[in-house]
């Protein structure tokens, strides 16, 4: 099991490396000089050049790249090109907000999506099934930012039940949860749609499997059949596909964070993109990639736990 885990982790590293490289390159192609932006329009050419030297912008690209790489290995994400603050600090502040949003999305999606998917598959072609299928299609069709705005309109503005924007005070549980409800619900509803569809189609496929038919023919109680085979299989599929949907989850969380002004990684990244803060952007993109890779590794591990046959692959 440990060997399996290690193997999985090792595979993730090249991906991270590529992400770092791609973001490094892309960002530097973009127009705009961070030193000029930082000093403002009245700064003399000499002071702009001095700041460029200080920021390391005058070094050849390769050197800058290697420095970024080695720094990462040390856990040093560098300093923001705008505020000169250590990025690691900003990342630590933003990470909890994104983590709890993503987790609530996964949690919500699983709690509601799996049972609905199973039930919908069992009750195939009934009215219930049609409704669920339409709603879940709607759920993954609706843009996350629109759903967020709708929920904001109804629950925050009209009904005044929840705060409109912000992340609340992360240390204060009540404030934290209060600010998490609507964003979490937005992301959760979208994830529920994905999970429902996944679960439904996996259950349908499993229902047709020979061993299920055999079990049924043997006369085992319907319920037992469900619990034993379908649920486990559904869990397997969902677990492995959460890895795939981790990317959707991440993208969705970025949009939700923007709509609700949550101070998480998503807002940090979009902010850094717009402000040409190269180093922050790189750090956030690498963190996101690490995030996605971790989710993938964790789900691979969970898959291996549920289905031991996988471990030998």
């Amino acid at each position: 099991m440990i060997a399996f885990a290690l193997r999985r982790i090792l595979i993730g590293i090249p991906t991270l490396l590529i992400v770092l490289t791609v973001s490094f390159v892309l960002i530097r192609i973009a127009p705009g000089d961070p030193a000029q932006v930082r000093l403002g329009d009245y700064a003399s050419k000499a002071s702009v050049e001095a700041l460029r030297r200080q920021m390391g912008l005058d070094k050849p690209m390769v050197i800058q790249y290697l420095e970024a790489l080695t720094g990462l290995l040390r856990g040093d994400f560098g300093r923001s090109m705008l505020s000169a603050r250590p990025i690691a600090g900003d990342l630590m502040r933003a990470l909890p907000y994104t983590l709890e949003l993503t987790l609530s999305g996964i949690f919500f999606g699983a709690i509601f999506g799996i049972p609905m998917g199973i039930y919908s598959a069992l009750k195939r072609n009934t009215a219930f099934d049609s409704i669920v299928r339409t709603l879940s299609l709607g759920g993954l069709s609706i843009p996350g930012f629109y759903l967020g705005i709708l929920l904001m309109l109804v629950f925050s503005i009209k009904l005044n039940l929840f705060p409109v924007v912000g992340g609340g005070d992360i240390s204060n549980l009540k404030s934290n949860l209060y600010h998490l409800v609507l964003p979490g619900l937005t992301l959760g509803l979208v994830m529920t749609a994905y999970v429902t569809r996944m679960t439904r189609s996996s259950v349908l496929n499993t229902l047709n499997e020979d061993y299920v038919r055999t079990a049924r023919a043997k006369g085992l109680a319907e319920r037992k059949v469900i619990y034993k085979h379908l649920f486990r299989n559904a869990l397997l599929v969902v677990t492995s596909l959460i890895g795939v949907y981790a990317i959707v989850l991440t993208g969705g969380s970025v949009m939700v964070e923007i709509v609700f002004s949550r101070p998480g990684l998503g807002r940090m990244m979009i902010g850094a993109l717009m402000q040409r803060d190269y180093t922050t952007l790189q750090a956030v993109m690498t963190t996101f990639a690490a995030f996605v890779v971790s989710i993938n590794i964790l789900t691979d591990l969970a898959y291996a736990v549920i289905d031991p046959r996988v471990r030998n692959k």
Binding site: I18, L26, S141, I142, P143, Y146, I247, V254, M255, V292
Partner: protein, 280 residues
Amino acid sequence: MQSGRKLTTVFLRNRTSVIGASISALLFILAISAPWISPYDPLKQNVYHRLIGPEASHLFGTDEFGRDVLSRVLKGGQISLFVGIVSILLGILIGPGLGMIAAYAGGKIEAAIMRFLDVMMSFPDEVFGVMVMIVLGPGMQNVIIAIAVLMIPRFARMSHAPTLAIKDLDYIASARSLGVSSLRIICRHILPNIFGETLVISTLWLATAIRLEASLSFLGVGVQPPTPTLGNMVRAGVDFLATAPWVSLFSGLGILLAVLAFNLLGDGLRDITDPKLYAR
């Protein structure tokens, strides 16, 4: 591959496809005829009648400059559809070619290309899209490029496996030894195999492209005002969400409808072209 007639019958029997196709067709017609059926000029302002709620003369109300929201939604829908279709077409043009090249080339080149495509796909769509837009700058042309770039890996992946499967078949090898050009092999054997899947994926990715364009516009890096896109209209409407929600509501509804329609259609197409699911 089923015969054309049988496919049509199956298509018509599948409720999802029919509904999806109908709504999609309706949206296409609306988008194309937007300039003629719009009750007002989408850019013309009438600041003496602004932020008026839905009423007889303005079915979707007016925005903060007195522009008719219905006319702007129609125009925005036209743009969204246009951007989506062109970017998908670009993706189809380049993507499958890339996948086939990778499969044919094999070895290290194939590994490198596929790896690179994998990493591209490991970025969340919106994030990658914003990055490309920052590099290229705002505007419709660049949005199309950005979305096309996002679609290419998907189309490439899709053509990669079938090409791999076929290229080692005996009759291909014999055809090659007979001197049949690779191009001919591709056209005759590979393309027909991936046609069905391409159609399905294109439809589904069109839905994604529309949603992506809306997200990019919403973030402010897409098509710029005063040209309306459904995304930048939602963004502008957020300023007045408390007192005049109709601007955001109706433009967002447009996005939802368009994405839903193409998802339905794609779903339906997948149902009828996927032989595994025929058993249902």
